[in-house]
């Protein structure tokens, strides 16, 4: 599995509000057997990563995946807690990101945190070979701290209003959210009834700094309005007119998949299976961290045995985050050897050092060794 496969989901015409464009995804027949519920938490949460480290983050809600097959059960609002824990605790500890609930056929996971965790854990273990250039701190503690800033949905200007006036389609199971016509997030759930309940959670989700900036500085985007070509004689009856109207809908769907969502659908991602539940797999994926200017998303996904996407949630990385990921990838590929990395990147040693520093990892380099190495290279 290398690509996101959205077969079974049809694109419907976008709805525009200011700079936000919302593209509904409709499933002609809903998927039975897997349902998502919403679980409500307090404001912030602290996640236990298992290796005696934790990170604290804004967690407004979690999802509960239920594959017991009792599909008739309606999606419920925050009633699946069961343990009777108090609700308004400001900081809570969550043991593991995806956790099976009380031996039931349910899995609790926090939206986007799998993906973020995957991104943050990207080679954050530190250098695998103890080259002289790395400081003692890097070798002992890895690349710490692991922190990324994100914006909650309600602080993205215009998003709450756009989500409020959005008209949900019958059978809608997902949404692509564009801000200033850049794909900000994709969200897919298995069943339309789940979607109706989970639609408001989009406002509580995490969005990257890029999305916030685009929403803040972006102008209103134009609406793709239908245009029927009616040169003399091409429309003679109402049936012709209807066919022309149909063609408009198709044209939009093709334009969307081929143009607007291309980077998301065509890029090959590195998938990692986090959890298996019956015939469903919970994955997180990381982009290739290419530096070609195309958009890069991290995210998580539940697929069934046929590879159909039942649940998808993405987080758009900013240019800075992509650069950091790219650098870490290259370093890891070259066993954290700075000179080899410079060679692989087709650049100089000094430039690699500059990049590592610029990425915020300067404190991990041993300044003395670096200075000495730089002097040597200049002399030679």
């Amino acid at each position: 599995m290398t690509r996101i496969d959205l077969t079974g989901l049809e694109v419907r015409p976008a709805q525009v509000w200011g700079g936000v464009r919302l593209v509904p995804l409709v499933r002609p027949e809903p998927v039975e057997g897997l349902r998502l519920h919403r679980e409500v938490y307090g404001n912030a949460g602290s996640v236990d990563l298992g290796d005696r480290t934790t990170y604290t983050s804004y967690i407004p809600h979690g999802f509960v995946a239920d594959w017991s097959g009792k599909g008739a059960e309606g999606a419920a609002y925050g009633t699946r807690l069961g343990d009777g824990e108090p609700r308004a605790v400001p900081v809570r500890r969550h043991h593991r990101l995806a956790k099976r609930r009380n031996g039931e056929k349910r899995l609790r996971f926090l939206p986007l945190h799998l993906a973020l965790e995957g991104y943050l854990a990207l080679h954050f273990g530190g250098p695998s070979v103890v080259w002289d250039e790395w400081s003692q701190q890097a070798v002992r503690q890895g690349l710490s701290p692991r922190a990324e800033a994100a914006y909650a949905g309600w602080s993205v200007p215009g998003l709450s209003e756009a989500l409020r006036v959005f008209e949900i389609h019958p059978g809608q199971c997902g949404l692509m959210l564009y801000v200033a016509d850049a794909l900000a997030a994709a969200f897919v759930v298995p069943h339309p009834r789940d979607y109706r309940v989970l639609h408001p959670t989009l406002i509580e989700d995490l969005y990257g700094e890029l999305v916030h900036q685009y929403a803040f500085y972006g102008a209103p985007v134009p609406e793709f309005t239908a245009r029927i070509r009616d040169e003399a004689g091409s429309v003679r009856t109402l049936a012709d007119l209807r066919a022309a109207a149909r063609a408009q809908e198709r044209a939009w769907a093709e334009a969307h998949d081929g143009l607007m969502a291309r980077d998301l659908l065509d890029t090959s991602y590195a998938f990692e299976r986090v959890y298996r539940m019956d015939s469903y797999d919970l994955y997180r994926f990381l982009p290739p961290f290419h530096r070609g200017g195309e958009e890069q998303h991290i995210g998580e996904l539940i697929a069934d045995h046929k590879g159909r996407t039942l649940y998808l949630k993405t987080f758009r990385l900013s240019e800075n985050q992509i650069r950091r990921g790219h650098l870490l990838r290259r370093l890891a590929d070259c066993d954290w050897h700075l000179e080899q990395t410079a060679e692989a990147l087709g650049t100089t040693y000094a430039e690699v050092v500059r990049r590592v520093t610029a990425a915020g990892f300067g404190s991990l380099l041993n300044a003395h060794v670096i200075a000495q190495r730089l002097r040597e290279t200049q002399e030679s």
């Binding site: 008209e167 389609h169 309005t225 239908a226 007119l241």
Partner: protein
């Protein structure tokens, strides 16, 4: 007569203002906030008052809503220097039609703005005199106490009835009043029984003060309630006498189960109300096809709950009455077929529905679209379908099409249009549909300012004649 470019613009401005004055209430709508609505409306009023003063005053004779009527009166009285003829009579005639609480609010606004010219005083005095003549000022003194007080102060009114004056300004002077309302008001402070002699809204305050349980209070005050108050508190009311749009709002406020259980009763009441509105025109519209918007945006806002949907529902029954028997077809955007079970949900595929409406077994004589003008599945398709249909398939205009829109678009200073080839009119109550279709023909751009002026003059003539009778 030649039409100049500025004439066309003037005609457009006037229609724009009429549309706004029919639909906008300065309240929150689905897509724009109350602040945006007020700002937009304030600009529009000033613009039209400065540029087309006679037309601005003449708008009082049209079926515009009370919010805008009050705004127009206030603006006219604030600027007495430019006043034209007939203005005073138009204002007086309109005030006589408006509910008293709105008029008192207007008087208070005038007082706050320190508008106290001779004409304003004369108008307020006349209105109060007419009100005193009709039912005495005792009811107003009890029910709209602060309003009446402010108005009387503003014009230095001496009350013909000395009791009223004492009640308002020197309440300690009399030990008892002759008038039953005034006396009941005095006693209600100490005596629970007395409050049941007062109007409902006044008694409500006293009941709260005495801590009377709501249930018991409603039970005993029931005979004093007005029709609307009874409907609002869910007391049984005679549905067959309710106006159409109010009735539609009531039906939509009921849960689905109750709507199904009372289907015969509700449908009967709606049909009866529509029949009353259609009056002599019933059955004269030939084959009618309607496209009715029940998308999510028809839910309106917290202050105008389900108003657009109620207008669509009212129009449904009215059009059914206006169409020739059995020649009416309704097309809801959701695809539903049961008008009693509509709910605001889903997208607005107007274009497809218009095609459905035009296709039918035989081409309709009239196509009526009731929608807020937001067409999103896909956007703009309705306009395109209407354009191509008009230019390529029906250039001889066998079918007349009209779009009525219940929602004011604050950003556009007008109701949203679907296509230039289809006239659009603002609508507030389904009852006005027939009159609006008449106005809408001006919006098509085929008739100019002269006809529009003539039409307005005719309406003003009728209005003033009706008022003087």
């Amino acid at each position: 007569m030649t039409e100049t470019h500025s004439d066309l613009i003037a005609a457009e401005d006037v229609l724009l203002f009429v549309n706004a004055a029919v639909t906008a209430t300065g309240q929150r709508e689905f897509r724009s906030s109350a602040g945006e609505q007020r700002l937009s409306l304030a600009f529009l009023h000033e613009y039209v008052r400065v540029n087309y003063r006679p037309v601005y005053a003449a708008a009082l004779a049209l079926d515009i809503n009370d919010h805008n009527a009050a705004l127009i009166v206030e603006q006219l009285l604030r600027t007495p220097k430019e006043a034209g003829e007939r203005e005073g009579r138009l204002i007086a005639a309109r005030l006589a039609l408006m509910p008293p609480q709105r008029v008192y609010r207007l008087f208070r606004a005038l007082r706050a703005a320190r508008v106290n010219n001779r004409r304003t005083r004369a108008i307020i005095r006349d209105w109060l005199a007419a009100r005193a003549e009709r039912e005495g000022l005792a009811l107003d003194a009890v029910k709209y106490r602060p309003g009446l007080k402010a108005a009387a102060r503003h014009v230095h009114q001496r009350f013909a009835d000395p009791e009223c004056g004492d009640f308002l300004f020197t309440p300690g002077r009399r030990v008892r009043y002759e008038h039953p309302y005034l006396d009941a008001y005095r006693r209600a402070r100490y005596e629970q029984g007395a409050l049941y002699e007062l109007p409902f809204t006044v008694a409500e305050g006293f009941a709260a003060r005495h801590g009377i349980p709501r249930e018991r209070f409603l039970e005993r005050i029931a005979p004093r309630m007005t029709r609307l108050e009874r409907l609002r508190t869910e007391r049984a009311s005679d549905l067959t006498v309710m106006p159409l749009t109010r009735l539609a709002l009531y039906v939509l406020s009921l849960p689905f189960g109750e709507r199904v259980a009372r289907r015969a009763e509700l449908t009967g009441a709606l049909r009866a109300a529509a029949g009353r509105v259609a009056g002599p025109y019933a059955g004269t519209w030939g084959r009618v096809a309607a496209v009715l918007d029940d998308s999510y945006s028809a839910s309106g806002s917290a202050v105008k709950r389900r108003r657009p949907l109620a207008v669509a529902l009212g129009c449904h029954f009215l059009l059914e009455a206006l169409a020739a028997p059995g020649a009416y077809a309704a097309h809801w955007t959701s695809g539903g077929a049961d008008p009693l079970l509509v709910r605001p949900w889903g997208p607005t595929p107007l274009g497809t529905r218009i095609l459905d409406a035009l296709e039918g077994p035989a081409a309709p004589d009239r196509l009526v679209i009731v929608s807020d003008g937001w067409d999103n599945a896909p956007p703009g398709l309705a306009g395109e379908v209407l354009r191509v249909w008009r230019t390529r398939l029906d250039p001889e205009r066998r079918t007349s099409a009209v779009h009525v829109n219940p929602v004011y678009d604050a950003a556009g200073f007008d109701v949203r249009r679907l296509a230039p080839s289809v006239p659009t009119a603002g609508i507030r109550d389904a009852e006005d549909l027939a009159a609006l279709v008449e106005i809408a023909q001006f919006a098509e751009g085929r008739t100019g300012l002269a006809q529009l002026r003539a039409y307005l003059d005719r309406r003003v003539e009728l209005f003033l004649k009706g008022a003087s009778r």
